[in-house]
């Protein structure tokens, strides 16, 4: 696959503050690449560095074979959607969108056609002649999106482009973006705080924290095989439970004890001692209290939140520890109630075992190789 963007050892300071810290990422041509991370972790900063609005303090950025450290922003052939929209307040919606095409001296006829296409895509055709000040927040955001996409840039940078849209429209738009991106083979770097969105649209995802990349991988790799506790916890939610490893044999088979229950597991190295056992709420299976089994734990429902598609239960064990479990809300009147007793299957096959500090994965879990 052709390499398009190569980010090597890039750092950027604000005063003392290292906003991004020694970033190394390679992005392929046509790839849909997402930056994911908590607020303030440096996503915008990295994006702006790629766009050429910040100059990195260390490191190099290549576009293809070209070192672009010193290429000014307007020559980088990028489309950018800004987190704060940055709509031209003095131009109408239509003029905002045609702006980049005019700059490229695209002929009038084509400007019309392509603007129309972009407007249709963001469902703003009827507002074409409005002034930006007369738009709602989401409408403004869509103008920003259309404006960046319409120029069919070589690299599309999007900073939370859908944050102000409703779920419905967001899903539609992200599918449209994805489709356009694929059909035009535009390399795309996408910043979002919405992990579901990231998982749905990305070819690969980089999870960031405090300016550093934590893990880069395909969506299911990140979700199912997080490389540390932070990633496991940030993408989706995870139950972390204290456990103990013991009885490692020559083949690295061992026993992990969690909440007094023992599971067999296969380790990557010979280790023993305290560990973090992590299992996602949707992998925690709730069974009728009547069921029995070696690996089943008894618990009590202490909270239930209805989220539409699913229900989140908080289950308290006899130890006093509480974990979450997600169940599809097939029937509302079949919901469990607070106080109900249940049996819990901690699903050791899907669990990831970290060392005590959460920095390292200890067990093998092959379930991601599909």
């Amino acid at each position: 696959m052709e390499e398009h963007i190569k980010i090597q050892n890039v750092s950027k300071y604000f005063g003392e503050n290292k906003a991004i810290d020694n970033i190394n990422i390679t992005i392929n041509k046509g790839e849909f690449f997402t930056l994911l991370g908590p607020s303030g972790c440096g996503k915008t900063t990295l994006l702006r560095t790629l766009a050429g609005f910040y100059q990195q303090d260390e490191g190099d950025v290549h576009f293809g074979d070209t070192l672009i450290n010193d290429v000014p922003a307007h020559k980088r052939n990028i489309g950018m959607v800004f987190q704060n929209y940055a709509i031209f307040p003095h131009l109408t919606v239509g003029e905002n969108i045609a702006y980049g095409l005019k700059a490229r001296k695209v002929n009038k006829e084509e400007i019309k056609v392509r603007s129309k296409e972009a407007l249709d895509m963001v469902e703003l055709t009827h507002l074409q002649d409005r002034q930006p000040s007369q738009l709602s927040g989401g409408q403004q955001q869509r103008v920003a999106l259309a404006r960046a996409i319409v120029i069919h840039p070589g690299l599309l940078l999007m900073d939370e482009p859908l944050s102000n849209l409703d779920a419905k429209l967001r899903v539609k738009m992200r599918e449209d973006i994805k489709q356009l991106q694929k059909s035009l083979n535009i390399t795309t770097i996408y910043v979002t705080h919405d992990q579901e969105e990231a998982l749905a649209v990305s070819d690969r995802i980089a999870v960031m924290k405090d300016g550093k990349v934590q893990q880069v991988g395909r969506p299911h790799e990140i979700y199912l095989s997080p490389s540390n506790k932070f990633v496991a916890n940030f993408i989706g939610s995870t139950n972390f439970m204290e456990g103990t490893l013991s009885g490692v044999d020559g083949d690295n088979n061992a026993t992990v004890t969690v909440e007094g229950v023992k599971f067999a597991t296969k380790l990557l190295n010979r280790v023993e001692g305290k560990v973090l056992y992590s299992v996602r709420p949707e992998q925690v299976k709730l069974k009728p209290v009547e069921e029995t089994g070696d690996t089943l734990l008894e618990g009590e429902v202490v909270d239930a939140t209805f989220l539409g598609e699913s229900v989140v239960y908080k289950i308290k064990f006899h130890s006093g520890n509480v974990i979450s479990s997600h169940e599809h809300s097939i029937r509302y009147n079949m919901l469990r109630n607070t106080g109900d007793k249940v049996k819990v299957d901690l699903n050791p096959e899907e669990a990831v075992i970290f060392n005590e500090s959460g920095e390292e994965v200890l067990n093998e879990h092959k379930n991601i190789s599909k």
């Binding site: 010193d70 307007h74 702006y99 700059a103």
Partner: protein
Amino acid sequence: MSTRTLASRRNPFRQFDFWNYVTIAAFILIAFFLIYPLFNIFLNSFWQDGKVSLENYQEFFSYKYYYSALLNSIIVSTAATFFACLLGIPVAYVMSRFNIPFKGFFHILIILTLLSPPFIGAYSWILMLGNNGFITNFFRDFGIDMPSIYGLHGMIWVFTLQFYPHIYLYVSGALKTIDVSLEEASASLGVSGFQRIRKVTLPLIFPTVSTGALMVFMASFADFGTPMLIGQGEKVLPILAYEQFISEMGSNPAMASTLSMILLAVTTTVLFVQRYVVTKKTYTMSALRPPKIIKLAGTKRVFATLFVTAVVALSIIPQATVITTSFLKTNGPVFAGGFSLDSYREVLYKVPQAITNTFMYASIAIVIMVFAGLLLSYVVVRRKSKITSLLDALIMIPYVIPGTVLGISLIIAFNKPPIELTGTWVILVIAYVIRKLPYTMRSSTAILHQIDKSVEEASISLGVPPMRTFFKTTAILMIPGVLSGAILSWVTTINELSSTIVLYYGATRTITVSIYSEVFTSNFGTAAALASILSLTTIISLIIINIISGKKDVTI
């Protein structure tokens, strides 16, 4: 900040773009048309009896006569600035936020206040509040002794009323670009009315307010017409400088230069302080939600209208005096009682050419100024560095050098080959641009501080190079703010006298020159007639500007 240093370490030429050329061009032009002409002055101040010395400075600080003038200047300018803010800000706020009737009319009157013809402005205050003034006598009849207009307080009074339009114009411009959601946020937190203005609105437009204040300070610090008339014993620095330069009895170039240097030192300091404070207190806002006019009802509206009317009426007194005077029957320097059009009849023959000249030169100058203001303010604000700060300071110099002095330096500089400009209109335009650019420049920088940079970045990211991006986005967004300064430049250019008087020749005579020659020969009737014609044509020009700029949300 580290961005800059480190980036330049990597590649010093990375930033070498359009704006660097603008900076270089600006320096070349300034060097040529400002530094070079004024060089003699600077040199002279250190030159005594054929050798370098600080004697003049010593003398300055050892004689009360000199340093008390400096003190007076500072007192007068500071006080005038303070009171001008006190008048200008509320008027601007009320005018731009509330549904005041006759807004356009008031607006024109306020601008007209700036058009105080040479000496006539202060003179009309003498007519009102002098020892034998109309109002003084009125109160004296009731046994109330009014303090006389003469002295520092009189200067403060006149400066305040003459210069508050600076604040008014700058602040009005800024109030248009404020993001109202901030004011709304304040209201939602329970802070409204005056408190909100004090705690949110004012701090947000602080850069602009302080710029307006700077201009008032500079204007009062550099003016000598008013102190000359009502200062009497109380001298201020510009009078001393002016007198030293333009004495009928032969000048003392060394002392004159020293005075200019001190004048410059003070104003440059003030400028830098203002800039320093402003850079720390500058906030960008997206003007996506511009403010709307609030409809006041009943007594509140009456009250607001009364307030504006009172201020405007007070400040327009000099103009009113001028216009009335122009219709009085005069006999040489004496008013003979009764009305007539004689004054107009007398001046009419010289008016057409003078009007054409005035407006032609001013138009050329204003185009150059707006253009330069846009470009230079960008360099100064967005490419901030020691070099561009220096540029900013240099541009302000002409503002504080008496126009006559500047005019004379221009003559000396461009009076011989290779560049012979004396006697042409070009030298007038150069003088106008140099002298009046600070207004446009200041309002441009003020507005630019408020404009969100990401709009520009958006344009650049769409492939439009920085220069074109500037003209297609930021420049357009700046226009309302720039115009507030440009109007000041325009009106004061039309009104420019002190440099014109030494630079014009018969064919390049302007209206103000004509007015002046009437004033100093005490023909106040004809002077007033000319001044009225000047006011009228200025009003017309403002209306035309308004029509041309049309929908661009510019209330003249």
